[in-house]
């Protein structure tokens, strides 16, 4: 067993974990943050995507011990004061989800894409989401939601940066 410390959704967490434990099971089963989902066993579907130190990561490709000292954001950490995050709101406005199972991972992947400064053309967003599978929506509304939220988030980041 190894002791690790990390910040999850702004809360410091300490735990003894098995060295073989995947980060996604630490989040789901140790911390009870079940919003992050598991959809495959080959790191193909991206349902388990979370933010680790500001980058989107498939939490089934990372050991919990590798997350020692990091800051992690899961889907539970996005909304604040009862208000949806702009990307969550954009998914809702554009009907970017149906069954909702891929949605937490898709939102985290989208957030990673927006924060990376990637271009937001249809093609760039579609390529950027290559690691995340959705079987319900056909992706079109997801792409639109990310583009819409990127506009809002980057505009507000620019405004804050300029003030």
């Amino acid at each position: 067993m190894r002791r690790i410390t990390c910040a999850v959704n702004g809360v410091q967490r300490e735990a003894e974990v098995e060295p073989r434990q995947l980060l996604v099971y630490f989040l789901r089963e140790t911390l009870g943050l079940t919003g992050t989902n598991v959809g495959c066993d080959t790191s193909s579907c991206g349902a388990c995507t979370v933010m680790v130190d500001g980058e989107s990561v498939k939490s089934c490709t990372m050991l919990t011990v590798q997350a020692d000292g990091t800051e992690i954001t899961t889907i539970e950490g996005l909304a604040s004061n009862g208000e949806l995050h702009p990307l969550q709101e954009a998914f809702r406005q554009h009907h970017g989800l149906q069954c909702g199972y891929c949605t937490p991972g898709m939102i985290m992947a989208g957030l990673g894409l927006i924060q990376s400064g990637a271009g937001m053309s249809d093609e760039e967003v579609r390529l950027g989401l290559e690691g995340n599978l959705c079987r319900c929506t056909g992706y079109q509304n997801i792409v639109t939601a990310i583009q819409d939220a990127a506009g809002q988030l980057r505009q507000s980041a620019n405004l804050q940066g300029g003030s």
Binding site: R28, L33, T34, G35, T36, N37, V38, G39, C40, D41, T42, S44, C45, A47, T74, I75, E76, L78, A79, L84, Q88, F91, R92, Q93, H95, L97, Q98, C99, G100, Y101, C102, T103, P104, I107, D122, V125, R126, L127, L129, E130, G131, N132, L133, C134, R135, C136, T137, G138, Y139, Q140, N141, I142, V143
Partner: protein, 818 residues
């Protein structure tokens, strides 16, 4: 809070109401099956045979029992006494060889949750391990020892029917499950005399549904009472409850099934699965809660597959291309067992092999076959994508044969607009339709004439160069049969249940409303659409309405969600329940306003006295007075609630036209869908945003079916495409954006005029895309392509056409319309 742009006069139906389901799904507060735990819960992991066909000579769990954390382990023999019956087939179809009636008992093999003495497909369960954690259970699976006495394997349906083929089920003496068919009109005479007959064989590949949430089940027993609460990632909690009672011999009233948030289904969660029965049996044996969560690689082996049908399609026509008759023979590979409705899947398309086209006579025959593969069952579209594919491909072949454009051949054969039920050649009564309207709209949106001009300029030059992209345009003018189903029709088809659905409305004294539906959504947004219907019917807002579903203790009556049935059957039940509410409320309102009922009219969401618009009563007001019951009229019962059960008098028949425009790279064979136009007619629209979303997702699955997806078995019955890295579920990067429009032709089957939209995209898209690819590559002499039109196959077809020797000649030489 529900947001609406502009609402006219309290009309919510048809408006773009945002989904009420979304907030919990967007914030991680949803509860999928693997998110649920209960105290004392144990984990189940399953031992599955890697061998496709074998006698079990030894299954030994003794070493597994000594593994850390293991509390129990069972073989098939250990659990045999738990089953009151084998797992159910609700649609046991028997031989019916034209033109005689049923000639034999159905050959439905016993299918036990855990194999007792023989395994018949790779992935079948041979032992069960129970441990105190997921990891301990998985580890212990490795310690179970199984000896397999291997038997010859058969994986192709033609070979399975041959003399001397290895038998899946010895008791039948054949691998043929059934041959079933019917005809209408003088089909043989017309084919014999027709000036033009076009025949073609098509193969519809085996598909893996791939709901992103794998399956799972959690059973919490109350041993002292013999009660079981079953949480399952299922589309059919009500049907599962009844069937579990039969399989386990447990009083149905002591079973409660809860479908929590369910992460997609597409038919794959419309079943009774071995793991569900095993979980109940283990919970019963051990008296503790148990949970099983499917891994994706298990999902590929153990959850039903779809399609896998060879179709010999033929049409008879005049020299001008006017259809006279259609006739089809199917050879369906059902895999090793019948699952819940396996035998019936081809019948869901059986009456649709003339599409939305006029003709005089019709023939259908299907032979279903057992092979050493995972069982097939309903996958989105179920029978109707196969029919649409065969019809729409052969319409292109017919166009080529008679020298007509692919648009013209459709225009001249489409059934003309009609508003009341109309009997067609196959014998069905289509509910309503304006097929030319959606066809013309799609053509216009796609810019069809301009596309043909561009193609005429581009393709000959590109073909001559041997480089550059070829342009192709493909139609799919589809019709589907939805709204399952009139119970009497199901009886005639030997289906073992009814096709009705139920809804209850309870009006609370506080003015709010609870709706209880028998449908079981898993992404379709019923909570929102049902709230809109209720809001309009009762003069409240969607936010005033709470919709409950998916728990048999709450919703006691229902037939669940599949086959694009929820709105047209369950939604209509809701509409009917609201009519009952309004009828009672009107009696009470008339009494309170001291007028006759005839003087009351329902306007702007309330009862008004004719000629005295300030004298009104709302449903919430009546709900309060019905609750206090201080001054009810006559013998009126207190309270304002109603239940309605709707058994539809007919199916519904959504239809439309999809057009795919593709570019095919001659040098690599890769296909890009550069434009996709879908014009669908699903009757009255409740929520346009949800309808468009259903079309998007359906089309995406259909394009994936056309270009990428195929489950492949080797000769030993091993699934070669056994995980998400080898079976290609496309990402956003592999799919285009779609251009949607619609026509609205209200259904004559139900009072709201709704038809259903859940499957339309998947039914239409494969034919549109493959027709487009075929249309492109004919410029380089390729006569035939078939599903899936992967880059490799297209490249090989091009090479073969050029005589470069790289083509798969055996596979492709059968092509070409005769």
């Amino acid at each position: 809070m529900t947001q609406v742009a502009e609402q006219e006069a309290k009309r919510w139906v048809g408006g773009g109401v945002l989904r009420k389901e979304d907030p919990e799904l967007l914030t991680g507060q949803a509860r999928f099956i693997d998110d649920i735990t209960v105290p004392g819960m144990m984990w189940i992991s399953l031992v599955r045979t890697p061998v496709a066909h074998a006698n079990l000579t030894r299954v030994d769990v003794s070493a597994a029992l000594k593994m850390p954390g293991v509390v129990a382990a069972f073989t098939g023999q250990d659990l045999a006494s738990e089953w009151a019956s084998a797992m159910p087939c609700a649609w046991p179809i028997a031989d019916r060889v034209l033109p005689e009636e049923n000639t034999a008992d159905p050959r439905i093999a016993d299918h036990w949750p855990v194999a007792k003495d023989k395994v018949r497909y790779s992935g079948e369960i041979v032992a069960v391990v129970v441990a105190d954690s997921r990891e301990h259970a998985v580890d212990a699976v490795e310690a179970v020892e199984v000896d397999y006495d291997e038997l010859p394997v058969v994986t192709r349906p033609e070979e399975a029917l041959a003399d001397g083929a290895p038998l899946l089920h010895d008791e039948f003496g054949t691998n043929r499950m059934y041959t079933w068919g019917f005809s209408a009109g003088e089909v043989d005479r017309i084919f014999a005399e027709a000036p033009v007959v076009v025949k073609q064989r098509y193969y519809h590949p085996r598909l893996i549904p791939n709901a992103i949430e794998p399956r799972g089940v959690l059973v919490a027993p109350v041993s002292s009472q013999g009660e079981f609460t079953i949480y399952s990632a299922t589309q059919i909690p009500h049907i599962l409850k009844t069937l579990m009672s039969l399989v386990m011999g447990i009083h149905e009233g002591k079973i409660r099934v809860i479908a929590p948030d369910v992460g997609g289904g597409f038919g794959s969660k419309l079943n009774f699965y071995a793991e569900e029965a095993i979980a109940v049996a283990v919970a019963k044996r051990l008296g503790v809660p148990v949970k099983w969560i499917e891994e994706r690689s298990e999902n590929y082996l153990a959850t039903i597959h779809g399609r896998d049908v060879i179709q010999d399609m033929e049409v008879a026509a005049t020299e001008e291309g006017k259809l006279l008759a259609t006739r089809v023979k199917l050879l369906a590979d059902f895999g090793a067992y019948s699952q819940l409705v396996t035998p019936g899947i081809p019948l869901l398309g059986a009456w649709l092999y003339h599409g939305p086209y006029d003709c005089q006579a019709y023939g259908f025959e299907c032979t279903g076959v057992y092979t050493n593969k995972t069982p097939t069952d309903a996958y989105r579209g179920a029978g109707r994508p196969e029919a649409t594919y065969a019809v729409e491909r052969i319409m292109d072949a017919l166009a080529k044969r008679v020298g007509k454009d692919t648009a013209e051949i459709r225009e001249m054969n489409l059934i003309q607009p009609f508003t009341e039920a109309k009997t067609v050649a196959s014998g069905l009564a289509f509910d309503s339709g304006d097929y030319p309207a959606s066809f013309n709209k799609a053509k216009q949106l796609a810019g069809y004439d301009e596309l043909r001009r561009e193609q005429a300029e581009r393709n000959p030059a590109a073909a001559a160069d041997g480089r550059g992209k070829l342009l192709g345009i493909g139609f799919s003018t589809y019709i589907e049969m939805c709204g399952l189903a009139p119970s009497q029709v199901l009886a005639a088809l030997k289906y073992g249940a009814g096709g009705w659905d139920a809804a209850t409305i309870r009006c609370h004294p506080t003015g709010k409303v609870t709706v209880i539906t028998g449908t079981s959504p898993h992404g379709q947004g019923h909570v929102t659409s049902w709230s809109q219907i209720t809001a309009d019917a009762l003069g409240v807002t969607p936010d005033d309405v709470e919709v409950l579903h998916g728990d048999t203790a709450v919703s006691s009556w229902g037939m669940d969600t599949y086959g694009s049935r929820s709105l047209s059957v369950g939604g209509t039940a809701l509409f009917k329940a609201a009519e009952k509410i309004r009828a009672k409320a009107k009696r009470i309102a008339a009494h309170e306003l001291e007028v006759s009922e005839d003087d009351l009219e329902w306007a702007d969401g309330k009862f008004q006295v004719a000629g005295a618009p300030d004298k009104t009563k709302t449903i919430p007001e009546i709900a309060f007075s019905a609750w206090t019951a201080h001054a009810l009229p006559g013998d009126e019962e207190p309270g304002l609630s109603a239940t309605a059960v709707w058994d539809p008098p007919n199916f519904t028949f959504p239809a439309g036209t999809h057009i795919a425009v593709v570019e095919v790279d001659q040098e690599t064979g890769s296909v890009e869908v550069v434009k996709y136009v879908a014009v669908d007619d699903c009757g009255t629209i409740i929520n346009p945003m949800i309808v468009d979303g259903q079309v998007h997702g359906g089309v995406a699955q259909g394009i994936a079916e056309a270009l990428y997806e195929e489950a492949v078995y080797d000769d030993n019955g091993v699934l070669v495409t056994g995980n998400m890295t080898t079976y290609r579920v496309p990402s956003a990067a592999e799919l285009p954006s779609f251009t949607l429009d619609r026509t609205v032709t209200p259904s004559s089957t139900n009072p709201m005029g709704v038809k259903g939209i859940g499957e339309a995209g998947t039914i239409a898209a494969p034919a549109a895309v493959v027709n487009a690819v075929a249309d492109a590559v004919q410029a380089v002499g390729v006569g035939f392509v078939d599903l899936p039109v992967s880059a490799e196959r297209v490249w090989r077809a091009i090479q073969a056409a050029r005589g470069d020797g790289h083509g798969d000649v055996d596979q492709l030489s059968e092509g070409g319309a005769q």
